[in-house]
């Protein structure tokens, strides 16, 4: 593999992360802000999962005729927990957005600022 492409996954991670951060900061719609947050989280999950990759590694499952090298299973296990946390944050945020819409009639951050 040419050396420039070797860290392609990291470059993709940085791009995704920046897209997410931009959405959180610049978008006025609260649901879009939340989507931006989810994109950021996905970027970090992808980064951590790929960090467990080993060149020519196989799944670390014991059995007949299985030989190393193995990919590290630990990042996957961590990210499963990370996904659970992200889902609960998303659920809570959506519930809050519904509540805000019910009380204020809008979910645009700049209109909400005027309403306060």
């Amino acid at each position: 593999m040419p050396s420039g492409l070797q860290n392609l996954d990291y470059a993709a991670f940085v791009v995704l992360f920046c897209i997410g951060l931009y959405m959180v900061l610049a978008r006025s719609n609260l649901v879009k802000k939340l989507l931006g947050l989810n994109i950021m989280e996905t970027a970090v999950f992808a980064f951590i999962v790929t960090s467990g990759m080993v060149d020519d590694g196989t799944a670390p499952i014991l059995g007949n005729g299985v030989a190393g090298p193995f990919a590290s299973p630990l990042p996957h296990a961590l990210i499963l927990t990370g996904i659970v946390v992200a889902v609960s944050i998303t659920a809570l945020a959506l519930a809050l957005i519904v509540e805000i819409h019910r009380q204020c009639g809008t979910i645009e951050a700049d209109e909400l600022k005027g309403a306060e």
């Binding site: 992360f17 951060l21 959180v24 609260l30 802000k33 939340l34 947050l37 950021m40 989280e41 970090v44 980064f47 951590i48 960090s51 590290s72 630990l74 990042p75 961590l78 927990t81 990370g82 946390v85 609960s88 944050i89 809570l92 945020a93 809050l96 957005i97 509540e99 805000i100 009380q103 204020c104 909400l112 306060e116």
Partner: protein, 491 residues
């Protein structure tokens, strides 16, 4: 005896799962469960701290798997904060019963206690976590429950504040998780002690500095260090008062304690990156002291005033850590604990005033000193402590930080600290003036009764602790001394 350490966090989490099920339609039962769990945690924390004093720091291997591979819970000087966490929680829960009856809709009350228990479990687990990933998980337990608790009372201001808090908190959590990922990729380990040992051997300067930067930025958002504090005032002021006490006293400290936890990892790092972080924190802390105190001065709402005072106090703590001098670091770590006591006293007392009178601005609350003497006494002691006058708990930390600034040859920071204290003194005078020396502005203030005993007792007990914390200040300082010595560049 061996298993107290996991139980200290597990008991509240189990109570959190049981409370909504058993307490369905019977919020008093959920409350009782919460009080038992908090009392249990307090008992366990006291026993564990006793063992810490007698034997020194110790670990517990979850499921019997030894340290670098299994999950390690560690009880050291920093973990002794569990005593404060559990004690404040117990008092807040006792206080919460009457307050929640008025402030939380009946069908949500069991869930409210359940969320408080999740929060307690998260906080206790956080200070005892021995590996990076559990640090993250417990931090998220405490954070997510805090976002929800802000909105527990209902109302649009609270919902907006909760969402703002959630977005800031979640972005900072992502940063922290990313940095943990970098550290894991560099060292292949998650155990904090193991990562610290391996990181020095890798010799990877730039990625390690990136991880340090990400962790510092993430934890400082959680700690609401100026200028990352914008989420704090609304969230802390619009939450129900017992929740405000928890958020301002305990949950902001996640940022500080988390940062203290991860700092030893980077002690092998070349001093330049660490030095830059320290320098930036010292300046931001100094600005936060002044900015927070100035903003507090211009508030009419008593809870907003206290929320801005939290921004200022976090400034003191961060300045003390950023000075990288052992005396200042001692002051900062002690102030973490004392600020927890002081700020929960203040928010609970302010909550009692709001609960009894229905007013929350200084103008409307004029004359409160005559109708609610005990609550106002506790509030006055709390404000005295937040100013940092000598016999109280607030004095200790600020004195050590100022002394450290002078010894480190940075008198400009000592000046900033004094200026902040003077500004805070102004709002102390404003509060005293309104409560004791002005004629009531609202006619209803004349017929207001003193708060019920279940609210008054926790407030008075905390106020007494604010004074005792100053008189017996030697004890936490001695306990925290090994921690301070362990900080890179701080000992």
């Amino acid at each position: 005896m061996e298993h107290w350490l996991p139980l200290v966090a597990m008991a509240p989490l189990a109570a959190a799962a049981l409370a909504p099920a058993l307490g369905r339609g019977r919020p008093a039962l959920a409350w009782g469960l919460g009080v038992i769990a908090a009392a249990w945690s307090l008992l366990a924390a006291v026993l564990l701290t006793r063992r810490l004093v007698l034997e020194g720091p110790f670990s517990y291997a979850m499921g019997g798997w030894p340290a670098p591979y299994g999950i390690e819970l560690r009880f050291d000087a920093l973990s002794a904060a569990t005593v404060f966490v559990a004690l404040i929680y117990l008092l807040v829960l006792v206080y919460s019963r009457r307050y929640a009856e008025a402030a939380i809709p009946a069908h949500r009350r069991s869930w409210y206690y359940s969320l408080l228990m999740v929060n307690l479990g998260g906080l206790v687990g956080f200070v005892c976590a021995g590996d990076l990933f559990n640090l993250f998980v417990f931090m998220e337990l405490a954070s997510v429950s805090s976002y929800a608790l802000v909105a527990a009372g209902g109302g649009r201001v609270a919902a907006l504040a909760a969402l703002k808090y959630l977005l800031a908190g979640a972005v900072s959590s992502v940063l922290i998780l990313f940095s943990i990922g970098v550290l894991h990729a560099l060292t292949g380990s998650l155990n904090i002690a193991d990562v610290a040992a391996r990181l020095a051997a890798t010799g990877a300067g730039a990625p390690a500095a990136l991880a340090l930067g990400g962790l510092t930025a993430g934890f400082m958002v959680k700690a609401a260090l100026f200028p990352l504090h914008l989420w704090l005032p609304d969230a802390h002021a619009s939450a129900p008062s017992p929740v405000s006490a928890i958020l301002s006293g305990l949950v902001v400290n996640i940022g500080i304690i988390g940062w203290l936890r991860i700092l030893p990892i980077f002690s092998g790092l070349e001093t330049m990156a660490l030095g830059m972080v320290y320098e930036a924190l010292a300046w931001l802390g100094a600005v936060a002291i002044i900015a927070g105190a100035l903003a507090a001065l211009f508030q009419q709402d008593i809870k907003l005033m206290l929320a801005y005072s939290t921004v200022s106090n976090i400034g003191y703590i961060v300045l003390g850590l950023g000075l990288a001098h052992p005396v200042a670091a001692t002051g900062a770590t002690v102030h973490v604990l004392n600020h927890a006591l002081i700020k929960s006293t203040l928010f609970l007392a302010a909550g009692a005033l709001i609960h009894q009178t229905g007013y929350r601005t200084l103008h409307d609350l004029r004359g409160a000193g005559r109708v609610m003497p005990w609550t106002c006494l506790a509030l006055s002691i709390g404000v005295l402590a937040v100013v940092g006058l000598p016999p109280t708990a607030g004095f200790l930390g600020k004195w050590y930080i100022a002394l450290g600034a002078l010894e480190a040859g940075r008198p400009v920071f000592a000046v900033a600290l004094l200026a902040g204290a003077l500004l805070i003194f102004f709002y102390y005078v404003r509060i005293l003036n309104a409560f004791y020396f002005r004629a009531p502005a609202q006619e209803r203030m004349l017929s207001v009764r003193e708060a019920p005993l279940s609210m008054l007792l926790p407030v008075l007990l905390l106020a007494a602790l604010c004074v005792l914390g100053g008189l017996f200040g030697r004890w936490p300082i001695d306990l925290l001394a090994p921690l301070v010595r362990q900080l890179p560049g701080g000992g």
